[in-house]
Assembly symmetry: C2
Homo-oligomer: 279 residues x 2
């Protein structure tokens, strides 16, 4: 670290910061979130916040778990919001820490509105979303000049846990050339079938990135037609971020993390593929 001071705002007693912790690597924390970890009296975190991130909290800072995880009862969203209000009213400096970014399928907006209703001051601290930064750790760009001028991020389940039905899946299939799915492992068979029915090629490249940007990161390269069956066959574990589209093929050139461990990268994977297809 260099020594130039930054004029950070203070996490004041009686206030809440809703912050993103990024996909896993503590190096992907923002300076602001890191600053808040050093100031908070209590951290209310979800299951996706890594141990390495929580280890950066100041000594004596309390930890409260408020996430959904197999085998444990899940607190209701209203209960979490209520808890944040109570802690702030008790004069605590509260850090609400979520995996990724709090406003990307993170329900940060709901919690913030509950704070507004209770008159509790708050700040939103964006984080690196897994759909961008997690894929970057797998060597997959969400956009690339030769492949796409648009990318769509979709959550794989709605509030009831089912595939979101209000979405126009045909339009999504025909829209952005790259789709990124969050929390979609459970319903991947149905989502893939809807996208193929909407015109997406069954042989389109797919990457399933499990535990992105953590030491346990695993990447399964497959296709839209086979992805659900292969995820099951390989016992892929959540959390996953799933990329669908030609950018996935760039991984052969951009897997910098693999290269650090000896993988040889291909300078132009898309040209290679075009040449092959041309015979």
């Amino acid at each position: 670290m260099n020594k130039v001071p930054i004029d950070f705002p203070e996490l004041k007693p009686g206030t809440v910061w809703l912050a993103g912790a990024g996909p896993g690597d503590p190096g992907l924390l923002t300076l602001l979130a890191h600053h808040a970890l050093g100031q908070a009296d209590v951290i209310v975190h979800d299951a996706l916040v890594s141990e390495g991130v929580l280890a950066l909290r100041r000594p004596g800072c309390g930890l409260e778990y408020a996430g959904k995880r197999g085998g444990r009862p899940s607190p209701r969203q209203a209960d979490i919001s209520h808890r944040l209000v109570l802690l702030a009213r008790a004069g605590k400096r509260v850090l609400r820490l979520k995996g990724g970014d709090p406003l990307v399928f993170g329900r940060g907006g709901e919690e913030a509105l509950a704070l507004v209703e209770a008159g509790v001051p708050f700040r939103i601290v964006p984080g690196i979303s897994a759909g961008i930064g997690g894929l970057a750790y797998a060597g997959i760009p969400v956009t690339h000049r030769d492949t796409n001028s648009a990318v769509t991020f979709i959550t794989g389940h709605d509030l009831t846990g089912a595939v979101p039905e209000r979405l126009d899946w045909d339009a999504l299939a025909r829209g952005a050339p790259v789709l990124v799915l969050y929390m979609a492992l459970k319903h991947l068979d149905r989502i893939a079938a809807r996208l193929i029915a909407g015109g997406r090629p069954a042989d389109q490249a797919v990457a399933i990135v499990s535990k992105a940007a953590t030491p346990d990161q695993q990447v399964l390269e497959t296709t839209l037609g086979r992805c659900a069956a292969e995820a099951e066959a390989h016992n892929i574990e959540p959390p996953c971020v799933i990329a669908i589209g030609e950018t996935v093929r760039l991984r052969a050139g951009l897997d910098w993390l693999g290269a650090l461990h000896g993988r040889t990268l291909t300078p132009d994977p898309l040209r290679l593929r075009r040449d092959r297809e041309a015979g």
Copy 2:
């Protein structure tokens, strides 16, 4: 800052880190990017990297400008990539710093592939993209439970500077309920017209956020039908990120930055609107 050390990788001589600087606020830098600023011999940056971020470089670190900005000649992409290779081959520790995230309409993939071709080792360091973090500083969530299970990010111009023609604009209009446009100010009239022709309501809420997450941030709330004319009437300056969809209305409740300066927030802006529409 607290004192727990993080085991950061070293930015080694002869290597390049392609890093995102976030939308503007130096507090939105990642710890890894901040670490690299303290190690680099030279930083090759674009116009969107803020002065506050560059001020965090170590004393003696060189600065090279490689961005597009009005009035200055724009270096060609191939020249930038070539320059990165030359600097690395000269044994420098090179930090290639881009506004936002290097892989979200940032051409980071192209530069990385050029490094692979030249045999230069590299690392990709994700950043907070303006389409997520910049909008958060305007109090606009890119996703929200009541409004959208999907969001699409679109660049407003292709390589030639024109509106991307390969995109299916009708499908994009009908797909994700929230659209986020990057670099779209110049062609906003044509893009808005295409989205309306594709079925998007002309009275849909739009926010144009200029210089997001900087001290000069400006937010114009408007509608799809009027946004291009109003942007011109208000002399809105680039860079802008533009949000289209009902989440924009949540700003009345979530403009935390405005609240820090005295704005009174509305606890439930969407309910308020539904009640009004119900008469």
